[in-house]
Symmetry: C2
Subunit: 303 residues, 2 copies
Amino acid sequence: MTGSLVAVDWGTSSLRGALIAADGTVREERSDTRGILAVPAGGFPAVFEALFGDWMRESGARCLISGMAGSKQGWVEAPYCACPAGRVEVGRSIIAIDAIPGQRIAMVPGLHDEHDGVPDVMRGEEVQIFGALSLLGRDEGLFVLPGTHNKWATVKKGRVTGFRTFMTGEFYALLSQHSILARTLDASAPLDEAAFVEGVTRADNGQGLLHNAFGARTLALFERMPRAELASYLSGLLIGEELRTQSLQAAGEVVLIGSPALTQRYALALRTSGTATRSLGAEATWAGLHALSGFLDSSATPS
Amino acid sequence: MTGSLVAVDWGTSSLRGALIAADGTVREERSDTRGILAVPAGGFPAVFEALFGDWMRESGARCLISGMAGSKQGWVEAPYCACPAGRVEVGRSIIAIDAIPGQRIAMVPGLHDEHDGVPDVMRGEEVQIFGALSLLGRDEGLFVLPGTHNKWATVKKGRVTGFRTFMTGEFYALLSQHSILARTLDASAPLDEAAFVEGVTRADNGQGLLHNAFGARTLALFERMPRAELASYLSGLLIGEELRTQSLQAAGEVVLIGSPALTQRYALALRTSGTATRSLGAEATWAGLHALSGFLDSSATPS
């Protein structure tokens, strides 16, 4: 398949890959648990060959990788692009990996922003945003990418003008697994929409997360909320706390990119504040890497 | 020593005791790691005898216990008093423990408050507040009791009119030990006042804790803050987030009750917002239990 692409989103604890035809059609997808933390020093070429060697021979040996594989702890460091940055700025900063003879593999850099002297970073989400712009035929908007470390990014004229990270997913994991709340909360219970929305609404009471989180303990202690609803309530408190700090009035329709389980919660939370949303999943990653693949052949090869 | 008292603050993970003379003088203090979680079912009388048996024979066998030993998971459950509650309301709700023949032992109940349908609770802090009122000769004010679950309590005419809990201490432990921040942060580093105050100030930037906490990661990643300062910065972010939700203008001098290491941080944080403080330690617990000991002899014995 001449002109096709092996597209890889290589994260910290897992990775996903797709074989994409020249016209952008996704032919096949794969995922694996060998995130960068599971790859031994010097082990990236062997893991890559084991996972994608067959696709590389099939595709004409062209591959573009995004995500934490481009960090200091990854395969090859691709230094962050400063915001504002669009497809062109990021595409021109793609770093070639000269590790496997005869194969053209390159790494997409992440983005860097700064607020009042405090840096912020993303790796991989920029590709999903570019993919969403391409899929939706847009060049501006507010994009939310839920995950362990959620990103809220603003796009104008096709460029990410700024973004902020929120540790919402990690706080949820810490509180539901390691805090006093873990004693009464059933993290495996399915989403209870009413309890979730109650949490979202409560987060806006001006008392802050440090106080409101304790309510998930006392509501259980006084049997005011069934055990099965507590995890949804806590999730709502956290996502509501994240929304509290946003200016949503002028945002228009917010684009959510991530797993359906997470984008569903953000859609529900944003709906309570009257904000419309649209959700995308892995297709945004593949569209983004495909959109950047034109820069692959001009990527700088380390001499 | 006729009329003397064995005073015990029996918490979740540790306990402290004092032998107090009839005039309130503390004769001796002890502490132990056998908090209520370390006591086996039915084991409270034996642990009590091992720890305080000699004092009980010396004191005329009078003992008052506060803290989590009065919870469902403790020795004897002492149901919460509803706010507003002062020394008289709490004193009249003291529960006698009829466990050791010939000994008069009783449990101080905690306090219960409620905000918009969400309950809040304290156990032990109410005794410290009554002790502070007695030591300082006051009958009103704003009282802050830092710890794993901090309490902010308002007192009017000698009664706690309301309070709120903040999980600040627990969030600090979770973030510094279990989150991504743990990789770069040195939790054993001494307090760096400048980094701490920077965190307190940053907490007021309107972006919320979920975002600001990630800054402790990126400041390390970009080497903008030395590793030894990160724990102080994170502590400042959390305490600043707690202060953000308080109305301090009308509070006057705030009374801090707790360990010097914690009250020092709150004093520093409150000073940045122009609020004066006064700090008390264990003496508030002993003064509070002594002030309540008049109710010991009239406490109801379960029949």
